[in-house]
């Protein structure tokens, strides 16, 4: 592994510091969130730290190769990841258990998480192969890429993991929009979306997923069942008030009123303990990070790199927004982690791969 020292000079250190700050907030918050977990709080923390180092190692690995070289292998990464997704689906169906994790030597890994950066890489690559200068992409251009997107989405929905599928779809559309489509193509995608919603509702979505959406509209529909999660999350965040209950003093998560408080509902822990001021600071950290990502994309003149960085920024933005909306009861309960903050090794590594690609583009932006 070799990284040219001159390239390091071009790295966006502000972005790196911003990311490290988010990681630090995540770790500190996770200490509080995992204290009440019976299976041993340090067990989970240790796993997260291991995942962090693993992620940073992968990040450096990515930095040492030119992103264009990496993008060239995108199809192989895609096939490999897709294979894992199909594999867990089959193994899961046979075992009748969870169909999201792949367990290798006792380490559980969620291949659908890996699909997020892989999809960015693949889509950016495919779209730029098809992109003609000064011309938006037409329908014919995007049919194959669309198929590549939809296949893993349907498989992930089958797991069932609505959250990851939504993130994949939305970030793919962001990238399509970024590269630019003809008006007719937008219309086609719009119509496709409209028609697929009832089909999804009818055939693909599980009853509990439907209930989650219905209980968002009316949480009193089933306050002890599906509404419970949203109501308790709202109470947790709201009870934080202006200044919060103080670090380690959150009662809602400590007394197990919020399921999944250390993963998808991590913001309830933060909001309860740090209050309005702390939460606004956290939002600003995220926003400045995403803004910095967009800035990288903007300052990269090479179109492939620009698209890749835009894709990474969109994934972080989409996950952040939906996750917070869910915690404050403005979006239905779907399994989407909060990048940097939620517990979960796969998610952390996936995010760090994204950052790796971003920095890769960032340090090589003056090569042309």
């Amino acid at each position: 592994m070799h990284i040219d020292k001159r390239r390091l000079y071009h790295l966006d250190w502000f972005l790196i510091l911003n990311g490290l700050a988010l990681l630090a907030v995540g770790m500190v918050n996770l200490i509080s969130a995992t204290r009440s977990i019976e299976s041993g709080p340090y067990n989970l923390l240790l796993k997260q730290v291991v995942a962090l180092f693993l992620g940073i190692a992968v990040l450096f690995l990515i930095l040492s190769y030119d992103y264009r070289v990496i993008a060239g292998y995108a199809k192989y990464f895609y096939i490999l990841t897709l294979f894992f997704i199909v594999f867990v689906l089959i193994v899961g169906t046979i075992a009748g258990g969870a169909k999201r994790w792949l367990s290798i030597a006792g380490i559980a890994f969620q291949p659908s998480e890996l699909m997020k950066p892989v999809m960015v890489l693949l889509l950016a690559n495919m779209l730029h192969q098809r992109k003609r200068e000064h011309e938006p992409l037409n329908l014919k251009d995007i049919l194959l890429p669309l198929l590549y997107v939809l296949v893993p989405c349907v498989l992930i929905l089958k797991q069932p993991d609505l959250g990851t599928a939504v993130v994949l779809l939305l970030s793919s559309f962001c990238m399509l929009w970024f590269v630019g489509l003809t008006k007719l193509t937008y219309l086609f995608i719009g119509l496709l979306g409209c028609f697929s919603v009832p089909v999804l509702w009818r055939f693909l979505m599980k009853p509990y997923q439907k209930m989650r959406i219905l209980s968002l509209v009316n949480p009193d529909l089933d306050p002890s069942g599906y509404g419970y999660h949203s109501i308790q999350a709202k109470i947790a965040v709201g009870s934080g008030g202006l200044l919060g209950k103080g670090y380690l003093n959150g009662t809602q998560h400590k007394l197990h009123f919020i399921p999944e408080h250390h993963t998808d509902f991590i913001f309830t822990v933060f909001g309860e303990e740090w209050g309005f001021i702390g939460s606004v600071v956290l939002f600003l950290l995220f926003m400045s990070f995403i803004h910095r990502c967009l800035k990288t994309s903007r300052h990269t003149t090479e179109p492939l790199g620009s698209t890749i960085t835009f894709g990474v920024a969109s994934i972080i933005f989409i996950q952040f927004t939906i996750n917070i909306l869910m915690a404050i009861n403005l979006a239905p309960v779907v399994g989407i982690p909060l990048p940097f903050i939620s517990y979960g090794g796969s998610s952390l590594i996936s995010t760090l791969i994204g950052i790796g690609l971003l920095l890769n583009v960032n340090m090589r932006r003056y090569m042309f």
Binding site: F178, I235, G238, L255, F257, F276, S279, L294, I324, I328
Partner: protein, 619 residues
């Protein structure tokens, strides 16, 4: 040109991204402001409600002692079964499981939960009191399958002597939803035990302590995590009663197997020494909340829940005669020399009134009229004195209104008057009715409590005290909170000679051969005075047997009224009970060989009428 356009398009897209970012932050911060600042207090309250549960620690009820310090009612630990609705995971699993396990009525269980639906779901709802050890073991063993079911150890009322004191002490049981709505029970909550009857009800506010509180932190499954703070409960005040357990036991035993009531008091203070009503009920079973038992006694035709002493009104029969005699003497229509001829019957208008002695008493004086309870003598006296004077005397004695005993629901007696008849029926009074009233029949209805006061009035020569069961109230720390001093109820200015005449007559009833109770109530070691009564029950069936008495005859320290429903003759059914009471109460006194041989006491000799035997001072 086109190149530039591509770049401008991208620039525009970045601009849009920036706008979306700003918009997103604005939306999120606004929502956060709404939740954390505007609704913050509310949400904090909700999170506290989630986390903190207030558990009531029931205060033990005050103890009740008899006059010698024997414990009559105390508290013991018991196991009560509760359901916390919030912790129920599957309603049917918990409710059906519990109903099956303990063989409870499922509908009843649901009813109890429904009654509590207005309360916060974390509030435990009591579904069974005083579980057996067997039931406790069953629930504990199946606890895992019954989420929301809790057993709590709480103090339970315990009546050491069961039914023996049931009408005096009363019982406690769960407050009903109707009672909860009344202002009297404003500060109570569902599931609280309240005094429902007797002293328990009368002295509820003293007996009930102050419940404590334990604030605990619970997790989402309702499991206690830690105790935040505890406010210890304060026991209720104790009652020291005038009841003498030994006397109570004697009377209770004497009335065993019969219907009736008896009350024994100290006429010098109004202190109630014994109060028995039969049939009785088991207060322990009622306190345990046994619905079966409740239903059983509620439909029992002999009305075990009625306190016959204070709530049962009966015709007094001949026990009313001393009152009529005194009224006539005071009015001056008769004197000690008045006599009437009794031929066994008395014709008035077209009606013939009979004397209980078919062959007649011959010429009857006032003394013999009382001693032998001659009906014809009193028919004549009654007509002479008139119903209104009889009514006035009853008012003077204080038996036309409740005596004021410290028990709830006391009924007043009824002694008619011309005005009363006019008012209630609109008709005028007929002289023939006076004839019936003169022997305690007709429209005369009195409670045993009222007749006991009549006996006291005669014994005390015109003075009565308000009957009181409770002597004093003592706080758990031993401080005397309240002492019930004797309260004078009647203080009549009577002609000493007149009252003495009546008293001598009543003394003769028990102590003179030929007196109606001589053979059945004469006691060796005390001179007792009394009056028998056999009253037509008015409801068919055998006559009610009465006996009222006081002893010692001159300065009585005990007075009583005994009723045996359908006991036929006062002399044979009721008087022996008075005898046993007197024997128990005066067992330490010296035996009196002959009543007539004593030396006359100095004090009252001058007021004695000639020819009337002097009393013997026994104390």
């Amino acid at each position: 040109m086109q190149q530039q356009s591509d770049a401008t398009v991208r620039e525009k897209k970045y601009k849009w991204c920036e706008r979306i970012l700003v918009l997103t932050v604005i939306i999120l911060v606004m929502r956060l402001f709404d939740l954390q600042i505007l609704q913050g207090e509310e949400m904090r309250k909700l999170s506290e409600q989630n986390r903190v549960r207030i558990k009531k620690i029931l205060a033990p009820r005050g103890t009740m002692f008899d006059r010698t310090g024997k414990v009559l009612a105390d508290t013991r630990p018991s196991f009560n079964l509760y359901i916390v609705p919030e912790d129920i995971k599957d309603f049917n699993q918990t409710v059906d499981g519990l109903a099956q396990l303990l063989d409870l009525d499922r509908e009843d269980l649901i009813e109890r939960l429904k009654d509590a639906r207005d309360l916060p779901p974390s509030f435990p709802v009591k579904v069974q009191s005083d579980m057996s050890m067997d039931q406790v073991a069953k629930v504990e063993a199946n606890k895992f399958y019954l989420p929301g079911v809790v057993i709590q150890i709480e103090p339970k009322r315990n009546y050491a002597y069961g039914p023996m004191l049931s009408h005096a002490l009363g019982y406690v049981s769960e407050i009903s939803p109707e009672e909860l709505k009344t202002p009297e029970y404003q500060r109570y909550s569902i599931g609280d035990a309240i005094g429902k009857f007797g002293l328990e009800r009368m002295y509820e506010k003293y007996l009930r302590g102050v419940d404590g509180e334990k604030r605990v932190e619970v997790d989402a499954s309702g499991k206690e995590v830690r105790t935040l703070d505890i406010k210890e409960p304060v026991s209720g005040h104790s009652l020291y009663l005038n009841i003498d357990l030994e006397v109570q036991e004697t009377v209770d035993k004497a009335l065993e197997g019969r219907q009736g009531g008896a009350v024994v008091s100290d006429p010098r203070t109004g202190a109630i020494l014994a109060l028995v009503s039969h049939p009785a009920f088991d207060p322990n079973q009622l306190t345990s909340g046994s619905r079966e038992y409740w239903q059983k006694i509620a439909i029992d035709p002999s009305h075990p829940l009625q306190n016959r002493v204070t709530q049962g009104r009966f015709p007094p029969g001949s026990t009313f005669k001393p009152l009529v005699a005194l009224a006539a003497l005071e009015k001056g229509v008769i004197n000690e020399n008045t006599s009437f001829l009794c031929g066994g019957h008395f014709a008035f208008g077209s009606h013939v009134f009979k004397c209980w002695q078919k062959r007649g008493h011959g010429s009857v004086s006032l003394h013999r009229g009382i001693v032998q309870s001659c009906d014809v003598f009193f028919y004549n006296v009654g007509l002479k004195v008139g119903v209104d004077s009889i009514h006035t005397m009853a008012q003077t004695i204080g038996i036309t209104k409740p005596t004021g005993i410290d028990l709830p629901g006391e009924k007043s007696g009824l002694v008619p008057s011309t005005e009363w008849k006019k008012r209630t029926t609109g008709e005028k009074w007929y002289e023939g009715e006076t004839v019936s009233v003169a022997i305690g029949q007709g429209a005369v209805w009195l409670t045993p409590m009222g007749l006991m006061q009549l006996a006291s009035f005669m014994g005390n020569e015109g003075v009565t005290f308000k009957p009181q069961i409770v002597n004093r109230i003592v706080s758990p720390r031993g401080k005397v909170v309240k002492v019930f001093e004797p309260v004078m109820a009647a203080d009549a200015k009577l002609n000493k000679g007149h009252i003495t005449l009546v008293k001598e007559g009543m003394k003769g009833v028990v102590n003179e051969p030929g007196g109606t109770a001589y053979s059945t109530a004469h006691v060796q070691n005390v001179s007792m005075s009394g009056k028998t009564g056999s009253a037509q029950s008015g409801t068919g069936g055998a006559d009610h047997a009465w006996f009222i008495a006081f002893a010692p005859s001159d300065t009585p320290s005990v007075s009583m009224a005994i009723l045996v429903e359908h006991g036929m003759h006062g002399a044979s059914a009721a008087a022996p009970i008075a005898k046993t009471v007197a024997e128990v109460m005066f067992k330490d006194e010296k035996e009196i060989k002959s009543v007539r041989e004593g030396s006359p006491p100095e004090k009252s000799t001058d007021t004695r009428l000639p020819g009337v035997p002097n009393r013997v001072a026994v104390q």
